[in-house]
């Protein structure tokens, strides 16, 4: 009992700590100062890797624990949330900070729980908490454009939640509150398993910005304060991956179509988002588009895991490994935009590292993730090889475009902190090696193989060459001006729809119209009863 008591307490207290801090933020400056230090407390959970704790009295019977994927994702979350939290403390206007950190802590609590919960109801609870709390981060500055971005974010999030909920109901009607994770229920064996898997793939696909479901992403990333964008892109995006890992029947036969759709969607998005991103004129937007583009390396492995159930285990871990690499590098890039402005020297010296890491520069985590993925490609899927190389070229172009747009000409502001950024950079360079090494020591040897340099450096050189050509013959001017929000902007232009506004325009006028007339007539009970009988009659006839 005592051996289990400690993890049972920790797994309960660590997620509750941020919630306990929320009411204090407005009144105590000390609580506010403590807020960015909350994420590191989750490190206390990591020693209990493999332990599963059950709380039958919590919600519908909660199960928490840290499995392999959870270990890597929690580590990623702690680093990015801590670094971004420090930055938010330093960079945001003081009077708005309590409000910001209320949503920040709530989103952190949800985000952490997404990575550690192992039953369907609690996972969904955590996921929803994270999603809705993040809305408060998006609209933090309270300008009209923020609310517009927040509205798009909410609408898409609600669509995702509805899809997930429909899937959850289908599962729960058969097996109740499903146990997830390594020794969980087999979601491939239930009725309508194909429909359930498709619902989960699409529902969590909203978070993963699968093509068509990514409409919320550019506006959200642009409007949110930089610290919030870093956690949105770095970690919260990966909650979608956690959902896929938990709810998709990876390793079971019979989901090849869904797998194929995911592979195709990942590839299309990889190139589409890169092209749209290159056409953007603001650095934050360029790098915002690199997220859906880079999710190619997460979506495709998951799709392949469905296509090749035999290789599902390693493929899923590769997706997680890439997620960690991408999360750290992306957070470093978003926070680096401001750094380049305030500390140009430092920025100029170091910002290219995470940027080219995304493209797969040799010895960076990007190269590690990409080469490992290629090594594990099933033999019959080797046709993907050239496409993956091409995507590296596209990414190189995208990050070069980003580097060319970063405002380097700021003046050095002494005392602008950089520790958070250096932490991210070091973690981004080192941590993926550690995780890959723990998982598969052989991965550490790959840089010594012949062909490594050509494979990793090739696309980058090609990309730089293309960029130089573009500079020589300025095609940049020929770039179509694709407005941020791509498809959404197109839809707006085509028919100028009105997204449901919040607060909504009265859908039903109170003073006029047939409904109001009917309501007035309902003041007479006889009329109500007559209508009632009429409705019953209709029901009978049906």
């Amino acid at each position: 009992m005592s051996a289990n008591l400690l993890p049972a307490l920790l797994f309960l207290l660590v997620p509750l700590l941020p919630v306990a801090l929320v009411p204090l933020l407005h009144r105590s400056p000390r609580a506010l100062a403590a807020a960015p230090w909350i994420p590191p407390t989750a490190l206390l959970l990591l020693p209990f890797h493999g332990t599963v704790v059950e709380y039958p009295w919590l919600l519908l019977g909660t199960r928490v624990g840290i499995d392999n994927a959870g270990f890597a994702l929690v580590l990623l979350a702690v680093i990015v949330w801590t670094a971004a939290g420090w930055y938010a403390r330093r960079s945001l206007p003081a009077n708005g900070q309590p409000r910001f950190f209320i949503f920040w802590l709530a989103a952190w609590c949800g985000n952490l729980c997404v990575f550690i919960t192992q039953d369907a109801a609690s996972f969904y609870a955590a996921y929803a908490m994270m999603t809705f709390a993040a809305w408060g981060l998006v609209v933090h500055r309270r300008e009209a454009a923020d609310y517009r971005a927040g509205r798009i974010y909410l609408v898409m999030a609600l669509i995702g939640e509805a899809l997930i909920l429909a899937g959850l109901f289908l599962v729960a009607a058969q097996i109740g509150n499903a146990t997830l994770g390594p020794r969980g229920h087999d979601l491939a064996a239930i009725d309508h398993a194909g429909l359930v898997a498709a619902l989960f793939a699409a529902g969590f696909g909203v978070k993963m910005a699968v093509i068509g479901l990514h409409l919320w992403l550019p506006a959200t990333y642009e409007r949110a304060p930089t610290a919030a964008t870093a956690v949105l892109a770095g970690v919260m995006l990966k909650a979608g991956l956690a959902g896929w890992l938990r709810f998709l029947p990876l390793g079971s036969d019979g989901f090849a179509i869904l797998g194929g759709v995911l592979v195709a969607a990942g590839l299309v998005m990889g190139f589409y988002a890169a092209v749209v991103g290159i056409c953007q004129a603001r650095p934050k937007l360029v790098i915002a588009y690199s997220s859906p583009s880079q999710m190619l390396f997460v979506t495709v492995p998951i799709g392949l895991a469905l296509l090749y159930p035999g290789a599902a285990g390693p493929l899923a871990l590769l997706a997680v490994g890439f997620a960690v690499h991408h999360g750290l590098a992306k957070a470093a890039l978003f926070l680096g935009i401001d750094l380049a402005h305030d500390r140009p020297l430092l920025g100029r010296a170091l910002l290219w590292i995470p940027a080219l890491s995304l493209a797969g520069l040799p010895l960076t985590s990007g190269a590690l993730a990409k080469i490992s993925f290629k090594a594990h490609l099933p033999a019959t899927a080797s046709w993907l090889d050239p496409l993956l190389l091409a995507s590296s070229v596209a990414t190189t172009l995208l990050v070069l475009r980003f580097l060319s747009l970063v405002p380097w000409h700021g003046t050095t502001r002494r005392g602008t902190p950089a520790a958070h950024w250096l932490l991210l950079l070091v973690a981004s360079l080192g941590l993926p090696w550690l995780l890959y090494g723990l998982n598969e020591p052989f991965a550490l040897l790959r840089p010594f193989f012949p062909g490594y340099l050509a494979e990793t450096l090739g696309p980058i050189v090609l990309g730089i060459g293309l960029a130089l050509l573009a500079r020589r013959y300025p095609v940049v001017r020929l770039l179509p001006a694709i407005p941020p929000g791509d498809l959404l902007a197109l839809v707006y232009r085509l028919q100028r729809p009105r997204l449901p506004t919040m607060p909504p325009a009265p859908a039903l006028p109170v003073g006029a119209g047939w409904i109001a007339t009917t309501e007035r007539h309902l003041d007479l009970l006889t009329a109500a009863l007559a209508l009632w009988l009429g409705m019953l009659l209709v029901l009978f006839l049906l």
Binding site: L58, F169, M502, L525, L529, L539
Partner: protein, 490 residues
């Protein structure tokens, strides 16, 4: 002694009845005595209901029977379903009494108010403990009459108009109910409540049983505010906040919903109801009500009116669960009886606090309310997010069971209704929260929390509402008790 113990349901009803008479006798001026009687009765009732709860759990029989006319008995009993409603109303009555004392501080006619207030709770207890339709009807009508003075308490023209509408509806509904009860008694010879149904299926032709069922259902549906019999409820929100809170959470609409549960589960039994095809009628009308109520709530700017439309929508979750049938949906419907009560009473307390402290009555005035009354708005937010069905709050547990119940019985449209309702709830609650927490308060706004007697009831009920979801797996949670009830019917 055993007779006294077995008659516990009677004592539970009598507690409030005696309190009501005592309060009327004390008169307007003796304020301290009135408060003492009020609180003593409320606490005593909680204790008695707690004893009853443990007794029912241990399987003890409770009953009290007086034959009024040959074949017509006045019966009070206590089964697990009784406990569900009586525990909820005993707890919330205590909280609401405290709130009402604070709310009506210094206003006239408090004797009348608290007298009828106690009478109203006595009637609710009777509705919960009634052992047959006849007894149920007595308390159901008493509830109607005891509530009217509360609705029109302010005495304004608007209140009187709403009160008249309320009376027309509920008395009309009561008349239909009475016809149904008489018909049922005539054709089947019984009106008793028994788990699984008390009337023998072959006692009358299908057509007769169908008509009787519909009469009874319409009688209950008026109080449960099922569309299109709902028009009285949004207008009755002119009542003082504690009345609205009680009306929407435990008393009137709950009596109607509770009646539907008794009708389907204990009078006809779910099998016979399904045989008559009436389960679909109950479920579909509930589904229509859920969506329609939410859509009307969108357009309401008056805060209490928006909450009232939300009640129209939310109470029908109970009917939806009962109509769908199947163990999971039954649990979902019954547990919402408690969950909706806890969440809605919190929301009305908070609406009352906003109006009393800062004069905020409309949604459009709520900018920055979170800064002005942080604790009240925290409680409000818990209630509102729970109504939307966000996990881990109580509404999520309801939706989980209703949705899975719908799929379990192959009625996939239920999931559509639930998702539509979730989106609509989000559309009418989230803008309120966004205004309160994100927007800046107007420059001339006053800042300050409500007095303790108004604030604490809201916080306590909000904690209950949060706990009902967060700790749903805990023994003695509403979900736990409802699962205990469901064993009886399956």
């Amino acid at each position: 002694m055993t007779g006294v113990y077995a008659a516990l349901p009677l004592w539970v009803v009598m507690t409030s009845l005696v309190a009501a008479l005592a309060i009327f006798a004390l008169g307007e001026s003796r304020r301290h005595a009135r408060v003492a009687v009020n609180l003593a009765a409320a606490v005593l009732k909680v204790v008695l209901v707690a004893i009853l709860l443990v007794g029912v759990y241990l399987g003890h029989d409770f009953g009290f029977r007086v034959t009024l006319l040959p074949g017509i008995d006045f019966v009070l009993h206590a089964d697990s379903l009784t406990i569900l409603l009586s525990t909820l109303s005993a707890l919330l009555w205590l909280v609401t009494t405290i709130y009402a004392i604070g709310y009506l501080e210094g206003s006239p006619h408090r004797c009348r108010f608290f007298g009828f207030f106690s009478l109203c709770v006595a009637a609710t207890m009777g509705v919960a403990a009634a052992g047959n339709l006849f007894t149920f009807f007595l308390f159901y009508e008493l509830l109607t009459l005891a509530t009217w003075p509360l609705v029109v308490h302010r005495g304004s023209a608007e209140a009187l108009r709403a009160g008249a509408l309320y009376l027309r509806y509920t008395l009309g509904g009561g008349a239909v109910l009475l016809i149904g009860i008489v018909a049922l008694h005539t054709f089947t010879g019984t009106t008793a409540f028994r788990a699984g149904g008390s009337i023998p299926p072959e006692s009358a032709s299908i057509a007769v049983l169908t008509i009787v069922f519909l009469l009874l259902f319409v009688g209950m549906a008026v109080k449960a505010a099922v569309v299109p019999l709902h028009a009285w409820l949004p207008q009755a929100m002119v009542a003082p906040a504690p009345v609205s809170a009680l009306l929407h959470a435990v008393a009137v609409v709950k009596a109607g919903a509770f009646g539907i549960v008794r009708l389907v589960q204990d009078v006809f039994g779910h099998d016979l109801t399904a045989h008559l095809g009436m389960d679909h009628v109950v479920a579909v009308t509930a589904g229509i009500t859920i969506v329609y109520g939410s859509m009307r709530a969108l357009a309401a700017d008056d805060l209490k009116q928006r909450l009232a439309w939300s009640t129209v929508s939310q109470v029908s979750y109970i009917g939806l669960g009962i109509g769908i049938g199947g163990p999971l949906a039954l649990i979902g419907g019954l547990v919402h009886l408690v969950h909706q009560g806890l969440m809605k009473i919190t929301l009305f307390f908070c609406a009352g606090n906003l109006a009393e402290t800062h004069g905020i009555k409309k949604v459009s005035q709520m900018d920055g309310a979170g800064r002005r009354m942080p604790w009240t708005m925290t409680a409000f937010s818990l209630g509102a997010l729970g109504m939307i069905g966000l996990p881990p709050l109580a509404g999520f547990i309801t939706k989980w069971y209703l949705g899975t119940g719908g799929i379990e019985t192959g009625q996939y449209w239920v999931v559509g209704v639930l998702i539509a309702s979730t989106l609509l709830n989000a559309a009418y609650f989230l803008p309120i929260l966004a205004r309160a927490w994100i927007n800046e308060a107007p420059a001339d706004a006053t800042v300050g929390e409500a007095p303790a007697m108004l604030l604490w009831p809201a916080i306590i009920t909000a904690l209950f509402a949060g706990g009902a979801g967060f700790l749903a797996g805990m023994p003695w949670s509403p979900l736990y008790w409802v699962e205990f009830i469901a064993e009886l019917y399956l």
